[in-house]
Amino acid sequence: MTDPQPQKGLVIIHTGDGKGKTTAALGLMVRAWGQGKSVKMFQFLKHTGARFGEHRAAEKVGISIESRGDGFTWLSKDMDETTAIAVDQWAHCKAAIEAGETDLIILDEATYPVTYGWLDADEVASTIANRPAHVHVVVTGRDAHEKLVSIADVVTEMEDIKHPYRDQGIKAQPGLDF
């Protein structure tokens, strides 16, 4: 078999219990954008229309961050609705991946809907694995499903050594955490 593409897009996963998964994905997005690459972020779980620091910064420079969610699941009152939002968000992700027009696509917090079974792990893994050869896909979230790990080129675990909320009761800080 010959590889027709000189440079293969990577699948990168940021997982683990420690902080820094989304933040590092944002950093990668900024780095790629700095190189003139086209980038896009899709956020699962985080509220539709969220206005975190990253959304504000992205808006200023014309980077697309699409959030579709109703917060984290243990706050959800209607699981059917929560599932439907995730399925809808995945349809947007899938379309963007398959279109091949974006060099770097970030699926933020995408491990959760897979782990919870709202999305089919095989479908997500095969869509990512069969992407156009130049496209990089970054997936973040705890407990990455083994099917996602198996198709990844790079997996980094953010190991929780010290956590300000757990250890000191300090809440997430604007600008730092969101």
Partner: protein, 184 residues
């Protein structure tokens, strides 16, 4: 509600663990480990805080990630984020840059300061871990300081509010081609 940050730990109840903790605090954050991911986490925080309109500044105590031109530097410039970098890592350059960091910490009361590769300058013996820890944990402001590098000295591990170790579970081979926008 849209602006409220979702808790990332289902195991933690909304009320716990301590109600007396400050609502807002300038945090000392350490991202360390062997992987390259720790550096881009610093870049991500800068982007976020810049979006909030907070004063942000970047200082790099090591050589830029392999490859030219650096995507990080191009992005920082386009975003208008002030950045101080040392071209060749030496003790003199590290000491001089550290003095800029000390000055920043003493003057700027909020926002984010990223000290990329500072841990490596400490590991080289160019800066004292105890002094760095004292300066960064002794500040009484809302400034968040992000420190990165391979290994953190015990003083910083002790004084930091947040520490994540970036562990490589799966990585590309050392002969893999360097990719613009990913590696630099």
């Amino acid at each position: 509600m849209a602006d409220e940050f979702p808790r990332d730990n289902p195991g933690v109840t909304p009320d716990g663990p301590e109600k007396s903790a400050p609502a807002r605090k300038g945090m000392l954050v350490v991202y360390h480990g062997p992987g390259a991911t720790k550096e881009i986490a610093g870049l991500g925080v800068l982007f976020r805080a810049n979006g909030r309109g907070l004063p942000v500044r970047h200082m790099r105590f090591k050589q830029a990630p392999k490859g030219e031109p650096s995507g990080d530097d191009l992005a920082l410039e386009t975003l208008g984020i002030p950045s101080h970098v040392i071209d060749a890592p030496t003790e003199d350059a590290a000491v001089e840059l550290w003095s800029k960091a000390v000055r920043h910490v003493s003057i700027v009361q909020e926002g984010v300061l990223v000290l990329e590769g500072l841990l490596d300058a400490i590991a080289e013996g160019w800066l004292s871990g105890g002094q760095v820890s004292e300066t960064l944990s002794g500040k009484d402001s809302f400034l968040h300081v992000i420190v990165t590098g391979e290994k953190a000295p015990s003083e910083l591990l002790e004084s930091a509010d947040l520490i994540s170790n970036m562990r490589a579970i799966k990585q590309r081979g050392s002969d893999a081609p360097v990719i613009a926008g990913i590696d630099y």
